[in-house]
Amino acid sequence: MKNKVYLQGYKLKAIWVILALIIWESIARFSSVTSLAFPSLTLIGKALIESIISGEIINQMAFSLGLIILGLIISILLALIMSSLSIINPIVENLVDTCISIFHPLPGIALLPLIILWIGTGYKAVVFIIIHSVLWPMILNMVAGFKAIPQVYKKIGRNYEFSTGKIISKIYIPASLPYIIAGLKIGWARAWRAAISAEMIFGATGGKGGIGWYIFNKRVFMDTPGLFAGLIVIIIIGILVEDLAFGKLEETTIKKWGIS
């Protein structure tokens, strides 16, 4: 029964998408707008296929995803350490809180001029911006998750005479997994945005600049269909990660354990 509802949802979504594509194509074909501003689907499709065959778009996407994954892993580790410490020690908690109030509202892109001076313009700078965008919301979510754990769980841990490390790894993390996954989702979305905007500004080093640079380059050469090809690939990756990767993660952990 539940599956059927899902399927219908997908069918409906497909209908919306097809409808949007039909409207798009008719505007491109029958109105007076120039194809420079509004290319037809055929042109976009051709640009997409060409850049997939040449491997350009795949390579740039792989480069971007590599940076994002690296940034996410570092952020998760840092967030785990900082939230665990702040749960254990109120002084650390205060420090982490202060950092969050200062840095969380600061967009990574606003830091760009500083980052160029301090770190330079290579991939390290992009990873830095990704970490900055992901870390603070991730800590917020983790700490909120840790705090929402029922007292009983903690007491059980103490009853078994678990060490602090074991309490965190065996009780805190699994019990707050819904929060952590929500934090991951936010982190992913923010990392994605941060990486693309940073790449569009930093440009490529040695021809490798990621998908943001790919789009920037298409803009510079006024290749509007190519620009749309880049956007389509970004949308596809977004859907894949949201629906498949996170969906799967939730199914095998919190849904299975019944804590969602």
Binding site: I116, L117, T121, V220, M222
Partner: protein
């Protein structure tokens, strides 16, 4: 029902206001750009030469961040006149933009600055990194031209390029960590050369083979054909501004201090330098288009404009 009527009315007004064109009004929309190479544009604005040549004209100065933004604004019909180098003009032309070069504007010193351990293009290896404003910019095309002449391979250095704006590129070069060479122009070029650790290994003229227009004025065909009165006035005002800067460099430098963050003496030095030339003659279009065609930056057969 009442709501629907109101919403319909709002839509209608929006539609009408969006469609009402500029045709009836005497208006010129010009991109506002800063730099020594654009000095005559600032003079034209300051001395109100456009208003003088076309009585009753309304001049809108639009802030534009770069060449790509100017092209996009022109495609969207939000801009009539802009200033850029010849290669970006051809890229737009190649992609189907119907526009023209209406005047030459300036030639300023352009060059590739490198650290002292690099003495010529031959010394640049795959481990070096060259900063320039963006692919397809005049700096990029000039570098390709030099590589074509020197190594018979115009794309030889394409994988060494780092896209950075002029000020960022200068900071990165002088910081001395990642960037080994910077293709830039006045006044960043002169600032970098003041540092004894850096020297120029290629000038724009060496790369191009002779002199050329660095910045030209461009306008849409729609503006040229539809508003020939304004177009002619624009050309007269442009010529007047260029003459003014050539004939009264001191006064021009004084005016420009209001627009640039530089002392008067320095501006005077730049605008009267032997290598800086303000002229409304367009030079080098054919060589640029031939080269860009040969190297497949642009594709169709170009007609001379």
């Amino acid at each position: 029902m009442k709501k629907i009527v109101i919403i319909g009315f709002i839509f209608l007004t929006l539609l009408v206001s969006a469609c009402s064109g500029q045709e009836s009004k005497k208006e010129i929309r010009i991109a506002e750009q800063y730099g020594i190479a654009y000095a005559p544009v600032q003079i034209m604005r300051h001395k109100a030469f456009l208003e003088e040549e076309i009585p009753g004209v309304k001049v809108s100065w639009e802030q534009m961040i770069n060449t790509a933004a100017i092209r996009e604004a022109m495609v969207a019909d939000k801009l009539d006149v802009g200033f850029m180098a010849i290669p970006p003009f051809y890229i737009g032309w190649d992609k189907g933009m119907d526009w023209k070069i209406f005047t030459g504007l300036s030639t300023v010193p352009v060059g590739l600055v490198a650290s002292k351990d690099i003495n010529s293009l031959k010394d640049i290896t795959n481990d070096h990194r060259i900063a320039l404003p963006q692919p397809g910019s005049i700096q990029h095309i000039l570098l390709s031209m030099a590589c074509d002449r020197e190594f018979n391979d115009p794309n030889k250095m394409d994988n060494l390029l780092v896209t950075l704006s002029h000020p960022d590129g200068m900071n990165a070069l002088l910081a001395g960590s990642e960037i080994d060479a910077h293709f830039t122009s006045t006044p960043y070029l002169e600032t970098e050369l003041k540092d004894n650790d850096y020297h120029q290994i290629l000038s724009g003229e060496e790369a191009f083979g002779r002199d050329y227009s660095f910045i030209v004025g461009v306008t849409t065909k729609k503006f040229h054909d539809g508003r020939s009165d304004l177009y002619k006035g624009l050309n007269r005002a442009m010529a007047k501004s260029i003459d003014f800067i050539n004939e009264n460099p001191h006064e021009a430098a004084e005016i420009l201090t209001e627009y640039f963050d530089l002392p008067k003496e320095e501006i005077l030095e730049y605008i009267t330098s032997q290598d800086t030339n303000y002229s409304n003659i367009v030079k080098g279009t054919k060589s640029f288009s031939d080269f860009m065609h040969k190297t497949e930056y642009i594709y169709p057969n170009l007609i001379m404009i």
